[in-house]
Amino acid sequence: MELKTFEHLMQNRPELPEQVGHGQPGRQAADVAPTMKVETRNLDFFYGQLQALFGISIAMRARSVTALIGPSGCGKSTYLRTLNRMNDIAEGTRLTGEVLVDGESIYDPQVDVVELRKKVGMVFQKSNPFPKSIFDNIAFGPRIGGERNRAKLEEIVVRSLHQAALWDEVKDRLHASALALSGGQQQRLCIARTLATSPEVILMDEPASALDPASTARIEDLIFELKKNYTIIIVTHNMQQAARVSDYTAFFYQGRLIEFGATKALFTTPKEKQTEDYITGRFG
């Protein structure tokens, strides 16, 4: 394998594109602060008759990590999935209110959901690599987007693996099955796969909940690294994790947003009694 070429590519790779402003300044809606990458206004969500979210309004800054915490069934995962319209897949779901990415409503009829999901990537709770080689897993996103050039694909694969801190472990077996990797490696592969489509926002649904402490630490380091270039929104059950990796934290309870603010403030001086009870372990 042309590993030399790969290293060469890495040395000469162009800097990652700037993420702010989506490359087109002046296109943002006037009423949205330019640093707000993702914003929901008065978001209600229904599974059939059952209302899962009640009037959620949060604005998330570009290049920051926002953690969504709360007890099981509080709606944090549902909220996360409204941000790239993964809830559309389930039958009988309904939503009112607004979800804005870069100031544009993503539930607008004109919005192409395929384009949206390329821009707002997602990493799932359980790692779900395709039953194909490591290379093909990562190249899948660019390929479906129409990239056919082998050299370009190799460059993307190498860059994504480096970004996901997986390169050193898999560089000698890019064409081996992804299913042969360990759980933590699989999850980093899924992150690399998401990065390969050059998203601007990355949604993570409890990405480390099925991993051992060492793998969890690696994922957390990775999140810390990635927030320099990406806007990250992460659902987690683990409050220490939220405190460690996030800049902002939103506390959900029974489908409602109880408190949202800077992580440090929320964990040291919570304004709401429910937040305090939850983070001190009195319930949940």
């Binding site: 390329k118 997602m122 799932f124 899948f140």
Partner: protein, 348 residues
């Protein structure tokens, strides 16, 4: 206390006895099935080699090996020693090929629609239920359907020339109604095996974890890309196994072919092919295949067993049964191999 313990011991012995009895019954069941199969194979083989002739009425020619090379290369004959099953072998192969051509895209397409696209409402539940029902319909009923719809086309064309009205599909010589042709046979068998292929494909698609679809969709794949690039490849072993098992039913099916009027005695191959190379060198033979009259291996067996006056034909039938069973065995073995080979990489 002691009596309670004794009662418990007694009850425990009873439970063990019931357990042993059950495993003995299961063992008996499997041995019964194997014994009957062995009986069939041994009986057929003895008959084929002429060692054993239960009817005892055969001529002296009865005691010879009937499964010879010429048996595979010659046409049927009024004389048992000169009989062969080449027309049936080619007929069955073409039948299988054409039936596969029609039923595979239709079956997979229907399954993909039902599993991936259709909403779960009363109407689709009704369709699903009835596909399962169709899989249980006796094959002779499909034969009658094929006779009415394809062979005669509801008798809509009463004043036809004997060869039917030629349809202008390029150089293909197909006329309506389709008559007793290979086209009618394969379309009829397509209807018969479609439910089997649909159900097998549905199950294969259902076994693909939902997380795989989510992964593809979250990367910005369209629904079509998700299905074509991830879901179908992952479910391919299951789908192929279903297809091969369905096609091996095509090889063995007799009743619907008799109903549509397929020949039991015929002395030419589909498309009047005389040498295998004809299909390449004389394109007309290939083009004539769909409209050609035909026979199939089980039909020949039927003919040799039931119609021929000479008792030696029973031995010919035995040889043909061995050939048919060998083909079926090979196909089922292929199904097992494919399932094993392709599912090795798919360890969720």
């Amino acid at each position: 206390m002691n009596t309670a313990n004794q009662a418990y011991q007694k009850q425990l012995r009873r439970r063990h006895a019931a357990s042993s009895l059950f495993s003995a019954i299961c063992l008996l069941a499997i041995w019964f099935a194997l014994f009957m199969l062995a009986l069939l194979l041994v009986g057929i083989s003895l008959k084929m080699t002429g060692i054993w002739d239960p009817t005892g009425s055969g001529s002296g020619a009865g005691s010879r090996n009937w499964l010879t090379y010429t048996f595979l290369t010659e046409h049927m004959s009024r004389k048992p020693e000169q009989s062969g099953m080449i027309a049936g072998i080619w007929g069955s192969l073409w039948l299988m090929f054409m039936t596969g051509l029609f039923s595979i895209p239709l079956g997979i397409g229907a399954a993909v629609y039902l599993e991936e696209y259709a909403k779960n409402n009363a109407f689709t539940r009704f369709i699903r239920l009835n596909i399962s029902n169709l899989a249980g319909v006796p094959s002779i009923v499909f034969g009658i359907l094929g006779l009415t719809v394809f062979a005669r086309m509801f008798g809509m064309f009463p004043d036809l020339p004997p060869r039917g009205i030629p349809l202008g599909i390029g150089v293909l010589k197909i006329s309506i109604p389709f008559g007793k042709s290979l086209l009618t046979g394969s379309l009829t068998l397509t209807l018969m095996i479609l439910p089997i292929i649909i159900i097998a494909s549905q199950e294969a698609l259902r076994s693909v974890p939902q997380s795989l679809r989510h992964a593809a969709l979250a990367l910005g794949a369209t629904k079509w890309q998700t299905i074509w690039l991830q879901v179908l490849p992952a479910s391919l072993p299951g789908i192929m196994t279903g297809i091969i098992l369905a096609l091996s039913r095509v090889i063995g099916e007799t009743a619907p072919l008799i109903v549509i009027g397929a020949a039991t005695y015929i002395r030419y191959n589909p498309g009047q092919m005389e040498r295998v190379s004809d299909y390449l060198l004389k394109p007309q033979t290939l083009l004539d295949v769909p409209s050609s009259q035909f026979t199939a291996m089980p039909l020949q067996i039927f003919e040799w067993v039931s119609h021929q006056p000479n008792p030696d034909f029973k031995n010919v039938a035995a040889a043909a049964i061995v050939v048919l069973l060998l083909v079926l065995l090979i196909m089922n073995g292929l199904a097992v191999y494919i399932r094993h080979h392709f599912s090795k990489r798919l360890d969720w």
